[in-house]
């Protein structure tokens, strides 16, 4: 009998431990450096070219000039980073410099006193503050205080297309939603997928909803959602947006298998430049990646770009844009004073140097610094850069990406429901109702 009991106990133990082991191994694997040694600071950044090289060079140059205040960088994939940084902050293991996209996520950090208030520091450094587009500070501000340094580049979402395929079909890029639907038919008949989409990442599908809702109902609809107004998601424009999405899915508008493609693998971009898909709605950061990976597809001028089409009878200004107004860097409130000082020094002298700005322009991005018009005009990618600059700087309304603007709880519910909307496992009405339940969360 003795043996029986002990074996039962060990099974009990096994059963009891396993769920936590799963939790521990999946989430708490904070293998990255929590803090750098000496007077340095640590930073987590996104892996992937061309930005990884640009940032590494900036960090190396800063380290060479400030031997006592080096920055140690660890790189992570985008989608993995978003989860890891939250867990690290919650566990008090955050790096000194916290990279992000501002908005709702930054708000949750600021309200938990996890990031430094940089308002007075910016007041003491007016030159730095005036260096950046004023619009880039919106998503860095929580309750009137600035918690992050805007940096890198403006990243609107634009419609990319493959000029080879458009020439072959003898068609023009879509100007209206009717054009979109007729192009879907044209390309399907040719045996080419109309739109590439990395649907498993879900925020990729979200970009479609953002533009459609803005074009149909104007920016006020999302403003009401963002402010948590009662029944804001039940706006008829939301339902129409969902209906249009499902029409496009039903017409085979997106590439076969889109819901198993991830953006991190860049397969969605490869589909466009290898000619398997004719168009792709994506962030302007993919321009640099396609320039690097696309075997001269971009260099030979085969990558077309256009603004999102208009919707007949829609209320939104066709000049409106959506995307990321900038990327952001905050300083962990848990860092030591020397680490904080190093980070501030890096913010001031290291992160947006002329070299870095040139590197961003070189890779096809528009840095968020004032007075770069001449530099953009002398670039070989000047058509694209000016297009992005106009879209970003002159848009009457530039909506920050929803999953960043909303709280993490609402954002996860949004992404999950968008996935189901694209699969047609819920109706537009159900989508609106499900999302309506998340208001104020």
């Amino acid at each position: 009998m003795k043996q029986f009991q002990s074996s039962r106990r060990s099974f009990l133990a096994l059963a009891a431990i396993t769920p936590f082991a799963a939790m521990a191994t999946t989430a708490c694997g904070t293998s990255g450096p929590g803090s750098a040694s000496g007077g340095g600071a640590s930073m987590w950044f996104l892996s992937g070219e061309p930005n990884q090289t640009t940032i590494q060079k900036a960090v190396d140059a800063f380290g060479a000039a400030n031997a006592d205040n080096k920055i140690a960088v660890t790189y992570f994939q985008n989608d993995a980073f978003k989860t890891k940084i939250k867990t690290a902050i919650g566990a008090g293991q955050a790096p000194t410099i916290i990279y992000g996209w501002g908005g709702g996520t930054l708000k949750s950090y600021a309200e938990a006193n996890q990031v430094e208030d940089l308002t007075s520091w910016f007041d003491a450094n007016p030159d730095l503050k005036n260096k950046f587009f004023p619009s880039s500070f919106g998503a860095a501000t929580v309750n009137g205080k600035i918690y992050a340094l805007p940096n890198q580049y403006i990243a609107p979402i634009v419609l990319f297309y493959n000029k080879n395929l458009f020439d072959k079909a003898g068609v023009q890029p879509p100007k209206t939603w009717d054009d979109v639907m007729s192009l879907v038919k044209t390309f399907n008949d040719m045996g080419v997928a109309p739109f590439s989409l990395g649907g498993q990442s879900r925020w990729t599908s979200m970009m479609w909803l953002q533009y459609l809702l803005d074009r149909i109902g104007g920016p006020e609809v999302f403003k009401a959602i963002f402010d948590g107004k009662p029944n804001a998601w039940m706006d008829p424009a939301v339902i129409e947006t969902g209906t249009k999405i499902q029409e496009l899915v039903s017409a085979d508008g997106f590439i076969k298998g889109f819901s198993s493609i991830t953006a991190d693998s860049k397969a969605d971009q490869a589909l466009l430049f290898t000619g398997k898909a004719a168009m792709m709605l994506h962030g302007t950061w993919t321009f640099g990646a396609m320039k690097k990976d696309g075997q001269n597809f971009v260099q030979n001028g085969k990558l077309g770009f256009a603004a999102f089409p208009t919707i007949p009878g829609g209320k939104g200004d066709p000049k409106n844009g959506v995307g990321n107004p900038a990327q952001y860097m905050s300083i962990s409130a848990k860092a030591t004073d020397t680490e904080k000082e190093t980070a501030k020094k890096f913010f001031k002298d290291g992160i947006m140097t002329d070299t870095v700005i040139d590197a961003y322009i070189e890779s096809g991005s528009v840095p968020i610094v004032n007075g770069i018009e001449d530099k953009l005009a002398s670039s070989p990618d000047k058509d694209f850069l000016n297009f992005v600059y106009d879209l970003g700087k002159n848009a009457p309304n530039f909506q920050q990406s929803w999953d960043q603007a909303l709280s993490p709880t609402a954002a996860e519910a949004l992404l999950n429901n968008i996935d189901q909307l694209f699969l047609k496992s819920i109706t537009p009405q159900q989508f609106a109702e499900n999302m309506n339940a998340t208001l104020g969360k």
């Binding site: 431990i17 769920p19 799963a22 939250k86 819901s259 999950n416 996935d419």
Partner: protein, 309 residues
């Protein structure tokens, strides 16, 4: 039986001699294990139980929530979807894996050279981590750049991970691919423990290979089957890494099993309270299943299968 009796007799006499001190010294040796168990199992369990009654976003302060998390999770249809899916994958995985690993185990238990060579190939998936397996399958099954396009095999060119039913089937297949080798190993060991004389006797009585399998091998493997099934069933509650990398719970919620649901709620949506509720549910189900499977083996665990040998 006689061995046990002598053992008991010696223990009893030792106590009678007044060497209880030695016994307590031996008890101290279990201390490291007890500490590990407390720190890594009991403390987190209590922590999760407390968190299930709390409001916490994983970053800020922890506040009391009363029964709110429990009522919201228990009234969420997503919980029942995940629960049903978890049990479905558990049962189908058991139905698929058990016969395959049993037969492979019996096959590889043979002493012929070619069987040993094949066994090495069968065990290969054991060497790979779940994440590597998932990434490899994802790449191979990519509808646009995968194996089907590379080799021009149209029947393989399904949207394996993009259609809900296909994705569930594929997840079960990949789990089986990864875990069948492990269970084969268990069965191989079990089969090799069966005394040769049983088969020899059966042969003399004129039993063929199939009869031998059903009347000797299978009954003799009773406890091996229970062990393997317990590992399969309890283990399937915690399938996470493979599915997380392969589908992320998608498309939609079609592969969002309970362990994944817990993770997504906790670490994506920052709802640690509801995630803890799910963790508690997982513990309860895991305990209940492990107990049930133990009972299945019968109370007479000491009872010999080699009666009369």
């Amino acid at each position: 039986m006689s061995a046990t009796t002598t053992h008991r007799a010696t223990t009893g006499s030792r106590n009678a001699d007044g060497t209880g001190q030695q016994k307590s010294a031996l008890a101290w040796l279990t201390l490291p294990a007890v500490i590990f168990f407390l720190v890594f199992a009991v403390v987190p369990l209590v922590g999760v139980l407390i968190l299930s009654f709390a409001n916490w976003d994983g970053i800020g302060a922890i506040g009391a929530a009363g029964m709110e998390n429990w009522t919201s999770v228990l009234s969420d249809p997503e919980l029942y979807n995940s629960l049903g899916l978890t049990f479905m994958i558990m049962i189908v995985s058991w139905l698929v894996q058990t016969p395959i690993s049993l037969l492979l185990g019996v096959f590889t238990a043979g002493t012929q050279r070619y069987r040993a060579a094949l066994a090495v190939l069968y065990f290969l998936p054991l060497l790979l981590s779940s994440a590597a397996v998932a990434i490899a399958y994802k790449a191979l099954l990519d509808p646009n750049f995968g194996l089907a396009m590379g080799l021009g095999l149209p029947f393989l060119a399904q949207d394996w991970l993009g259609v809900p039913q296909l994705a569930v089937g594929l997840v079960i297949f990949v789990i089986a691919w990864q875990f069948v080798p492990f269970h084969t190993l268990i069965y191989q060991g079990g089969v090799r423990q069966i005394p040769k004389s049983l088969y020899e006797a059966a042969q003399i009585d004129g039993a063929g290979t199939i009869k031998q399998f059903f009347h000797i091998t299978l009954p003799q493997l009773k406890y091996t089957i229970i062990t393997s099934s317990t590992l399969m069933v309890v283990g399937s509650l915690t399938y996470f890494d493979l599915i997380f990398v392969l589908t992320g719970g998608g498309p939609g919620n079609s592969t969002r099993i309970l362990a994944l649901d817990m993770y997504l709620r906790g670490f994506r949506a920052n709802l640690m309270g509801p995630a803890s509720v799910i963790a508690v549910i997982l513990v309860v189900i895991g305990l209940a299943l492990a107990l049930f499977l133990q009972r299945l083996g019968g109370k007479d665990k000491q009872g010999s299968q080699l009666e009369g040998m």
